[in-house]
Structure formats: structure tokens, C-alpha cells
Amino acid sequence: MVLLDPLAFFFWAVILLVSLPALIYSIGYFKNKFTRAKLLTTQLITLAFIASMLFLVIAANAFVFLIVWELMTLFSYLLVLTDSENKAAVNAASIYIVMTHIGTAFLIAAFFLIFKYSGSFDFTAMSAACQTMPPLLRNWLFIFFLIGFGTKAGIVPLHIWLPYAHPQAPSHISALMSGVMIKTALYGLIRFVFLVLGIGSLWWGITVLILAIISCLVGVIYALMEHDLKKLLAYHSVENIGIILLGLGLAMVFTSLNLASLSALAMIAGLYHLINHAAFKGLLFLGAGSVQKGTGTLEIEKLGGLIKKMPWTAAFFLVGAMGISALPPLNGFVSEWLTLQAFFSGAMNVPGLLALGFALGVAALALTSGLAAACFVKAFGITFLALPRSSSAGQAKEAPAAMLSGMFLLAAAVVGLGLLAPIIFNLLAGVAVSICQAQLQTTGLFSLVLQPNGVIAISPLFIAIFLGAGLAAAYLVFYGYKVRLGQTWDCGYYRTDSRNEYTATAFSKKFRISFGFFLFPFRKTEKIKDSFYHVKSFIYRTNTTNIFEKYAYNAVLHLLYRIAEIFKRAQAGSIHLYLSYILATLLLLIILVKIL
């Protein structure tokens, strides 16, 4: 009934890592927000949601897995609808559930196809059956799993629900959904593709890698364009799922090339980034929630200067931003470094063309991390630094203690996962070894130096110490006296105010233009005139085109609507038409009866 293997424990750790702080946070977040009854329901659904995730990862039976999977969807759907009177929330929730529903259909197909061969939903029986299946069917199963779980995980191009659904939920729910729930899809991918189905052809891993690269880049580029704090974070989830999938895809490639220990290394990198993303994305969503509660808006163009009003939130958000930007010595750095190491080590051992492909992967990952850093400079800088851009930002209040302590826990996790990397690595090695059936040399549980492939070593703790030493040295040598407050340089203008500040739109403009081949930016300028000669002000709007929605989803929807319109014409109210359908059906069947 239940399956308690290292993989399950790992996912328990991930779920609890975010759930507990999120629950603590919710106490503060919900204060004076809802009626008692609504509060109680919401919290109960939240608990049920967490419980369903916890149960999902220990289910030992695909049918149970499926039911819990659907329940998890249901609860999260309801949680997205917490603000059920808001039309945007309803819309977001609908997109979410429609997408996952279609994804689940693929999962159902995959499970039941296996069931036909295994006669049982038990993982071990299914796994045994998969080994004797025709290879073509296994390929189909892989595709089904990839689409089914990919929809939930938010792999591009199945990601469209994510930026809608995550921002609509209360922040700690967003943290849970983005930090944990989408990871359960990766759990499914690992469980069913690695353990039940078994890795097949090389192209499986390559497909995953290609999708991962696309997800990374698309996610981060869209995030850069986004000026709603939570939507921005949601797109970063797409990006980070891509980074995790780089690890998993590499593990698949290595497994199919019989490079077990490399596969374990890649798997560790993926899992490491998985737990890292849970920590910092959870933290960032909680931070965004504090900002929203403190100022009433998430539009970063209306924020600014919050570091003075909300010092703790700012500090925690900064930690999260540094984590996600892969800055040493925090956790994101470790996992991205590990992923790169997996690429490097792999390139020595795979055929040349594939190695060249790995080079592209490396380039994509580097570009992603550069863009992510840019995005978080924007997100943190515009939101928290300089002067407030609106009165609500000027009157911001620091979040209550419950919220801060939730954030503190996650911030501690971000730091801890970074500094204690060797320990975490060894723990994850246990999980990865169990998945990839590999022998892996580890450097002992309490080593301080991380040496994943026996050649290249790194220790975030040492980096931290050196950085600290450098910092201290510089402070001692250069500082200590004579500091004066003065005005910001304004070219002699009488006073700088928030209107002089750089905006998020301006910040991202370079990226908008240079990725224009993909973003299709467009802009509108309106003049507001006092008289014919005098322009009072300009309204300048700029936006980008979401090609996935416009050219894929809307196109499909449009097609469906077109067909539906044709069908509608078939039911236009004419009884004569209806009668002729019956007659036609009858005649057709009579004519065809011989061959039926």
C-alpha cells in the first residue's frame, strides 16, 4: 500500500520543508482577511492539499496514485479559487484545471496501458510488465508520461496555466503550488519513467533535455517581461523546472548509455535543484505575499523603497533572490554548478555530437542564470530599493511576526542548503543511487568539500568564509570614519523624486528588444492634450505577445470554436433537418449492414 523508499523520503522532506513555514506564514497572512468560516475552510483545504501531496509520493499503487493525484488537483483548484468572487481567479482556476485534466488523461492512458500487461497496479508488477513490453509501446508510454506530468510540472509549451494560477492563490498557497506541487509531477516522472518504465532509447533523454532547455529560456525571458511580482515568480518556476529537468534528462541520457555513476551525478544535480527551488521559490512567494499585504499591490512599477519600511521582508526576499540567481554561497549556486559539472563530466564520455549538444545545454543554462540574475536585480531593485513609486508603497507596513518567521525558516533553508552542500549532496547520493542503481564515491557524510566527480571540488562554506574574510578585510582597511548623507546626483535638477527613478519597464527594455524575435513586443503611445499645441502628458504602454497562447492555444481553441460553430449549424432548430438525420443514419446503416 505504501512505499517508503529514499525517493519518497526525499519528497517528504521537500514537501515538509515548504509546508511547515507556509502554514506558520498563513496564520499571519489570513489575519483580519476572511470570515471565520471561510478561514476555517481554506485552512482545512490547505491541510488536505498538503496531506494529498504527502500521500501521493508514498503511494505504491498506480491507481491510488491516480486518485490522490486527482484529489491534489481538486484541492489546489479550490485553493486557487480562494478569492472566488474575483473573475481573474475563476478564469485562472479554469485554465489550470482544464490543462491538468487533459494532462491527467494522458496519465490515465499510460497507467491503463501498463495495466493491460501487468494486470495489477502495483508498482513492482507494473515495472516487471514494462520490461516485456514491445518497445514501440514503451515509447508511447514515455510520451504519455512526459505530457501528463509535463502539464502539471509546467514544461514549455504546457506551462500556460502556471502564470495564471499561481498568482491568484494566497501567497503561501502559491509557495506550496510552485515550490512543491509542480515537483510532485517530477516525482511522477522519476517514479514512472525511471523506476517503473525503465529508461529506454537515447532519444527519451534528449527529448527531455531539449524541452528543459526551452523551458529554461522561455521561462526566464517571460519572467523578465513580467512586472507583476507573483507572475514573475511563476514564470521563474517554469525556468527552474527546466533546470531540474536538465539534471533529470542528463540522468536519462547517461542511463541509456550505461553510464550509471554519471547518471547518479546528474540525478543528484536535478534533485538538489528540486529541493533548492522549493526553498527559494517558497521564500520568494512568501515575500511577495508580505509585499502584497503590506502595500496592497504586486505591481512592481508601483512599489519601491520597501527596504526601509519592511526591512525583514526585504532581507528575506534578498536571500531568496540570491538563491534563485545562483549566487554563491547560497543553494542555487550549488545545484547549478552540479548540473554544469554533470554536463562537463558527461561530455568526456558521450559521442561527439551529443557532447556538442551538451555544450548548447551549458550555454543555455549559463544564459538562463544570467537572465535570472538580471530579472531578480529588477525584481528586488525596483520593489525594495530607492524611493516608493506610489503612496501605498510609501505607507507600507512590515509583515506580522508569524509571516516573518515563516520566511525566516525558508531563508535559513536557502542558506543551509548552500553552506552545507557536501552533507546534502551525500544524502541525495543515497536517493540517486537507489534510482540509478549506481555506485557513487562520496566523500563522507560530514565532509566540507564537495567533490562530485573526484576531480573538481568546491565548498560553498569555504567560499563563504573567504568572502567573509575579504569583506572584513576591506571593512577594516577602508572604512571607519567620515560618512556624510547627500543628495543623489541629479544633474543639478532641484530635487530627485520617484519619477526620476528607473522603471521595471525600462530595465527590461533591452531584453525586450533583443529577444524581440521571440517576444514580438508592441507599444502604444497616447498623447493627452490640453490644447492643440500643448501636450499635457503621454501614456506609454508596451507589451509583448505570448506566442504560445496566441499561436498554439488560442489557435487550437479557435479551431475548436470554428468546428463547434459548424456543428451548431447542424442543430439550428429545424425539425426537418433532425428527421433527416434519423433517416440518413438508418439508410446508411441498412446499406452498410453487410459489411458491419
Binding site: A326, G381, I456, R484, A506
Partner: protein, 273 residues
């Protein structure tokens, strides 16, 4: 113990000689323009003078503004530590300093800072892939025998260095024109010791990159390390004199070219040329 001593020696050499490299480039450039030019020790004098001045902190700024010079300095120094054994970590460590510098630029609340910050992040996000690929290529060709890989990787890294050390055609250290400046725009609100620290850090970073490049082309040119460094400095000076600044939106083209060079380096490494 000797390793520790060597490390300390390495760090102090790079830190100590960093302003000298800057001075040399400036001097060579001036001479190439048929001017007499400053003394090569001028950067030391500049730093010393700045250290004597008081710091003026913009009133809108926060602790980020004040801590940034320290972090940038610390990262520059820490990066030297990994100069020979873990090149990949360097990119991440330098990213830390850049991240804070970009934040500090926004912190003062001036439009110049924002411009600098956004341009810097824009350029750096294209630099990182090129740098990573160069390291990837080097990783694939262990040992120090001469190869085409080293040549291509070196060329690619040269472009990276132009970007990282705020040189023409990507950035211009000699101007404070708001339309063109990148790095200088971020430093605009710094003064006194903070400014000294930031400039010093930039110089350290610059020498550090030169050392890295010298490490690559050393086997190529079969020249001693020091000559290599000098060679790089001269080449950079020539480039700076001989080329005009690119528009910001042409910069990615150049960096993509660097990426392609690095990819070619990888191809040649894989082919074993």
C-alpha cells in the same frame, strides 16, 4: 603549508599589481594616440587620493548601497583563489559582486544608476554563456599542448574580457556620457573610499581575467607567463584605440560571436584537432 603560502602570494601579487595593469593600458593607449600620457603608477595615486576623501551617501539609499563595495571587493579577491583549479566557480562568484553592484546602482534612485544596472545585467547575461563555453572547451582539452582549441577559446575569451573589463567596443571607461556608459553609470553616486574600493575591485577583476587568458594562450605562444600578460595588455590597448564603441544592441552580436567561437573551440576539442 606551502600551498597556503603560494595562495597568499598569488592573491597579493594580483591585488598588488592590478592598478599597474590599468596604468599600463592607459599609458599605451595614450602613446598610441601620440600623446605623452600619464605615468603608469597613476591608478595607485588615484586610489590613494580617493581614500582620503569623505564618503557621501545618497539619502535615498539603504544598506545595500553601503555594503556593495565590500562585497564586490570580496568577490574579486575570492575569485583569484579559484584561478587555477575551479574556473566554473569564478563565473558564479563574480556574478555575486555584479548582482550587488547592479542593486546598489538602483538603490540611489537616479536614472543613471538604473541605466547602468540594466545595461550591465543585459551584457553580462550574454557574457556568461560565452565564458562557460570557453571553460567547457578547456575542460575537454586537458594538458597544455598546443591546439586549435586554445586559439579559438582564447579569442572567445578575449571578447569576454572586453565585456568584463568594461573596454571598448562594449563600454568605455574614459567617458561619463550617460548615453554610453555602463560600468561608470553604476558608480556614479559613489565617492571617496567606496569609489576607491570599487575601482580597485574592477582593476583586480581585470588583472584576474588577463591572468586567465594568459593561462590559456601560454601554451599556445610558448611564452613565459609574464610576457603573455604584457602581450594581452598591449592587444587590449590596440583594440581600444582602433575601434569605436558599439551600439548597445550590437553588443549581443559580438558576444554571440564569442559564443560561436567557443563552440568552434569545443568542436575542435571533440575532433581532437
Amino acid at each position: 603549508m606551502t600551498k597556503l603560502l603560494l595562495t597568499i602570494l598569488k592573491i597579493s601579487l594580483v591585488v598588488g599589481l592590478a592598478p599597474l595593469a590599468s596604468g599600463l593600458i592607459a599609458r599605451i593607449k595614450n602613446n598610441l594616440r601620440l600623446r605623452r600620457g600619464q605615468g603608469i603608477l597613476q591608478p595607485y595615486r588615484n586610489l590613494w587620493k580617493l581614500c582620503g576623501k569623505e564618503d557621501i551617501i545618497p539619502e535615498n539609499s539603504s544598506w545595500i548601497f553601503q555594503i556593495t563595495p565590500l562585497i564586490v571587493f570580496a568577490t574579486s579577491v575570492t575569485a583569484i583563489l579559484f584561478l587555477t583549479d575551479n574556473l566554473l566557480a569564478i563565473i558564479f562568484i563574480l556574478a555575486l559582486g555584479r548582482f550587488f553592484l547592479a542593486l546598489a546602482a538602483l538603490d540611489a534612485g537616479s536614472a543613471f544608476g538604473g541605466m547602468g544596472s540594466s545595461r550591465e545585467m543585459f551584457i553580462s547575461s550574454f557574457v556568461e554563456p560565452a565564458a562557460c563555453l570557453v571553460i567547457f572547451a578547456l575542460y575537454l582539452t586537458p594538458g597544455s599542448t598546443w591546439s586549435l582549441t586554445h586559439l579559438l577559446a582564447g579569442l572567445s575569451l578575449l571578447i569576454v574580457i572586453l565585456a568584463e573589463t568594461t573596454r571598448l567596443p562594449i563600454d568605455n571607461q574614459e567617458t561619463h556620457l550617460e548615453l554610453t556608459m555602463v560600468h561608470e553609470a553604476m558608480l556614479l553616486d559613489y565617492s571617496g573610499r567606496s569609489l576607491a574600493l570599487l575601482e580597485f575591485s574592477a582593476q583586480i577583476k581585470q588583472l584576474f581575467w588577463f591572468c586567465l587568458l594568459a593561462g590559456i594562450i601560454c601554451p599556445l605562444a610558448l611564452l613565459p607567463y609574464g610576457f603573455c600578460l604584457l602581450f594581452i595588455i598591449i592587444v587590449i590597448a590596440f583594440i581600444e584605440v582602433g575601434i569605436a564603441k558599439y551600439r548597445l544592441f550590437k553588443v549581443p552580436d559580438l558576444l554571440v560571436f564569442a559564443v560561436i567561437l567557443a563552440l568552434l573551440a569545443i568542436v575542435s576539442a571533440l575532433l581532437g584537432v
